[in-house]
Symmetry: C2
Subunit: 164 residues, 2 copies
DNA sequence: ATAAATTCTAGTTTATTAGTATACTTTTGA
DNA sequence: TCAAAAGTATACTAATAAACTAGAATTTAT
């Protein structure tokens, strides 16, 4: 149930871009790479993929760089993970984007499939509902919470997600 | 976010065993392999791993085979997946069983981490609460529902999971 | 024009996955 | 007892995917 480095780096880069003063201003690859500790050449590939998928836009030449193709609240983590890492589903027979029939006799009564469908839905529910804007908001809240650690139960459920 | 073949085959084998008349009676590898369409030699390895993890027991010799070490309701899918495929967490910095510090400046305010923690918890909530017995029950319910497809909305949410 | 930037294609290396092969040990029914 | 049935234990291999790396081509502000 693992996210690859491509997915991890891509998400970090987008979250980084969304956190910039103007998310639509061009930012250079090397700056993102430095801030997020990502190998520059690898990040290049990843951002290019995201550009081809319509998540990013770029401007070449001097003063160029990458910027978000849409508003942060219009980009979900689910889209991004699918582009970089493929389907969210643990097994292909419960995938929406890359369904493949499994060898079991009857999908409707396959125990593994029934459970893994729940898992895939739980993952998709989170990632498809969480936008870059949501992440930015959570980060800001967490930063404020850190500055004044007044009273805070050790298991403070910080589920600050804007309902959309 | 993928389950490997090891995990898939292991779960299928255990679900198969739990579905047998007496889940504590010995079943031969080759029978499981045939029913579930799993390469025998590969399944051998997987079942051995599950035995060493205390999920299965075995008896050698004539009339031998594998059987569950515990009651089906005592074996969760979460345990099994962790044994065969490793941590449930999408990234190591939100893993309970294999935590590793990530490179970000501050984990408490890392946007990716906050979201992936939600994902890891959603996955764990399902897999750690679902037992082999639960799966058997769901399969039976699904089989009955199939025989009399009386009225059934096309999106019938079949969340028949025993609360424990 | 040119330097700074992205674009694009391809290659490399390492790790993991998914299996095979082989020899050995234990158990037990005849 | 002993041969067959079963699991045990390792080692090996092919294929694929992950994680980079290299370098030439292209774009563009100045």
């Amino acid at each position: 149930m693992k996210l690859t480095k491509r997915g991890e780096y891509g998400l970090k880069a987008l979250i980084d871009l969304a956190a910039q003063a103007d998310p639509q201003a061009a930012t250079q690859i090397k700056d993102i790479a430095q801030r997020q500790q990502i190998p520059v050449k690898f990040l290049e590939q990843i951002l290019l993929t995201l550009k081809n998928a319509g998540v990013l836009r770029s401007r070449a030449g001097v003063g160029g760089g990458y910027y978000l193709a849409k508003e942060p609240r219009e980009i979900t983590l689910g889209q991004v993970v699918r582009v970089l890492d493929g389907p969210l589903a643990p097994i292909p027979c419960v995938s929406q984007m890359a369904y493949e029939r499994c060898v079991c006799a009857d999908e409707a009564t396959c125990g593994l499939r029934l459970t893994m469908l729940d898992v895939r839905n739980a993952i998709a529910d989170i990632l498809d509902q969480t936008t870059l804007a949501d992440v930015s908001t959570r980060v800001e809240n967490a930063q404020h919470a850190e500055q004044r650690p007044a009273r805070r139960s050790s298991k403070a459920k910080t589920t600050t997600r804007t309902t959309r």
